[in-house]
Symmetry: C2
Subunit: 337 residues, 2 copies
């Protein structure tokens, strides 16, 4: 790394003090009444030396890094990748950069990430919180660190969040299937103590109950670490027990994709043998023949909104903003079409 040029270098070259150079570089030559001649010389010297400000020094002095920390479950997961991309764009438009980390749904990794990023003095966090991290989030709130939770949140904590209306997502999907004539509708969800999952389960459950299908309620709870095994078992059971009017709703994208894989393996046809309702888009859903139905999350809104809420907090607002975004049903493989 070659030595970078600093304000001092410009000051020396022009023969003025560092302060003047700083004023000019920051466009404060008017307020600070810098002489026209000097302004010109400083500008030229900066240009000539190709001066680039040292953000680290500036951050130290200003106590603001113009950097946010983004903690997702896994950046390799396209859902979070997309979200990250949208947040990155929004941040960049506002002069912020993003440091990211993947928690892997592990509370210890989450804790270590929060610490690392805090020590790097990020101005705020956007966090997809993981099971068991409620204490960490509480701690952030206690320290008055600006942060926004996305995708999931803790109802016990009064903090800003931007999430999907998960209840409505599965409720609507279930009703859609009921309207299409299905009766044996199962929901495949993670066994997870996080509100978004609980809500998705509740949406399904209530939709079934309100439509007098309580006795057909069939909730398949999948252990995240054994999802392949558990989904496999669930299929065996469904195929053995339900003989007709079968439909399957998946509560996450990963579950949907592996579910599809099983459906293929068992040579079941969608929607003839079993109807399918996935979560989040994905290339496979379009490629299927016929294309598959799924719950679509408003990712763009989710990303933009979460950054903007965070920005407000960073700028000193203490208003807590809780946003619940509406899902959209992309309905395609109905028996009727």
């Amino acid at each position: 790394m070659q030595k970078r040029v600093s304000l001092k270098d410009i000051a020396n070259k022009v023969g003025v003090s560092i302060a003047l150079v700083s004023y000019v570089i920051n466009g404060q030559e008017k307020e600070k009444r810098v002489g026209a001649e000097v302004v010109k010389k400083i500008r030229e010297a900066a240009e000539e030396l190709n001066y680039q400000p040292n953000q680290i020094a500036r951050s130290l002095r200003m106590k603001s890094t113009k950097t946010i920390g983004l903690i997702v479950a896994d950046i390799a997961n396209p859902f979070f990748g997309h979200l990250a991309r949208i947040i990155e764009n929004e941040a960049s438009n506002q002069g912020y950069t993003v440091i990211f980390g993947s928690s892997d749904e592990d509370q210890f990794k989450s804790e270590s990430l929060i610490n690392t990023l805090s020590n790097r003095q990020v101005d705020g966090f956007i966090i997809v919180p993981t099971e068991g991290t409620i204490g960490q989030i509480r701690e952030l709130a206690k320290k008055k660190t600006p942060f926004v939770l996305v995708d999931r949140y803790f109802p016990e904590i009064n903090a800003s969040h931007v999430v999907l209306d998960n209840y409505r997502a599965t409720y609507d999907a279930t009703v859609q299937l009921i309207n299409e004539g299905y009766r044996n509708i199962s929901l495949c969800a993670y066994e997870l103590d996080l509100i978004h999952m609980k809500e998705r389960i509740r949406g399904y459950r209530e939709a079934m109950q309100y439509n007098n299908l309580a006795e057909n309620l069939h909730l398949v709870e999948i252990r995240p670490e054994h999802y392949k095994e558990d989904i496999g078992k669930a299929f065996d059971e469904i195929v053995a027990v339900q003989k007709e009017s079968r439909a399957l709703i998946f509560a996450t994208n990963a579950l949907s994709v592996y579910g599809l894989y099983c459906i293929q393996k068992k040579s079941l046809k969608i929607p003839k043998d079993i109807a399918f309702f996935g979560f989040d888009g994905g290339e496979s859903f379009d490629l299927f023949d016929p294309p598959l139905s799924f719950v679509q999350q408003p990712l763009e809104e989710m990303g933009k909104e979460s950054f903007n809420v965070l920005l407000n907090l960073i700028n000193g607002s203490s208003k807590i903003t809780q946003v619940m975004l509406s899902p959209a049903l992309i309905v395609r493989n109905t028996v009727n079409t």
Copy 2:
């Protein structure tokens, strides 16, 4: 943001100088001969006040931020998302954090990203370079900024890189299809002035020539901004002209996925009507019936290797390391199976 505790706070509490506290915090109490009693007091105070070092201040002083900049084409693209994830892990293991940015294959965004991250004093870069950015890369080299190019590189620049053996990837895929008995083999690639694409095209071309199929050579060049239109046209042409023994190789994942979409739309059956060879894995390839063949990139190696090469450069090595990784063919939908 609550005021964070600094070395000074600890020093005041214990009643010693800041220097002593720094020594103890950094585990230098032996070398710097700090009294046992004082060490204990400082440790206790640090614990009690929950001291967390300010990395920004440390960075300024040490001229090292323990941060790297990662510039990919698009973090939302699962290929880059995975790569980012692997790099993130590797970096984290070595005490580094990652600031990322997506260039969108746009040279101006790339330039602005490089500048922003440089000003944030990243210790080095991992870059997936974009068309037209050779000047920016040259500039980095000139300034002796540590960097590693991944996925693509510029043969004109003597710098470290970690890439796939792209020539072999398409060469092997082509030969595989020839061995399966296909004769009318087309390659669908981007019209792009980047070495990885050129090499993929060359691999296909030479495989055809060496097997006396030069007259069947059919290269479909897709304009990145009009890929849907161009792929559509290509299909019309292929279906119209080639009547039998048809096979299609795609030079990137995105092309593969949209290609699949077209194949579905045209109700072509794989491999009966047309054989398929994709690039990079992807959930859809497994879900297809029968599962699809593709060229697999050693992502794990690519990520780890690129970070380690970068780390060497950061640590002062001036050795240029150029790594070419071998692709693997995942062969599945052959006519023979």
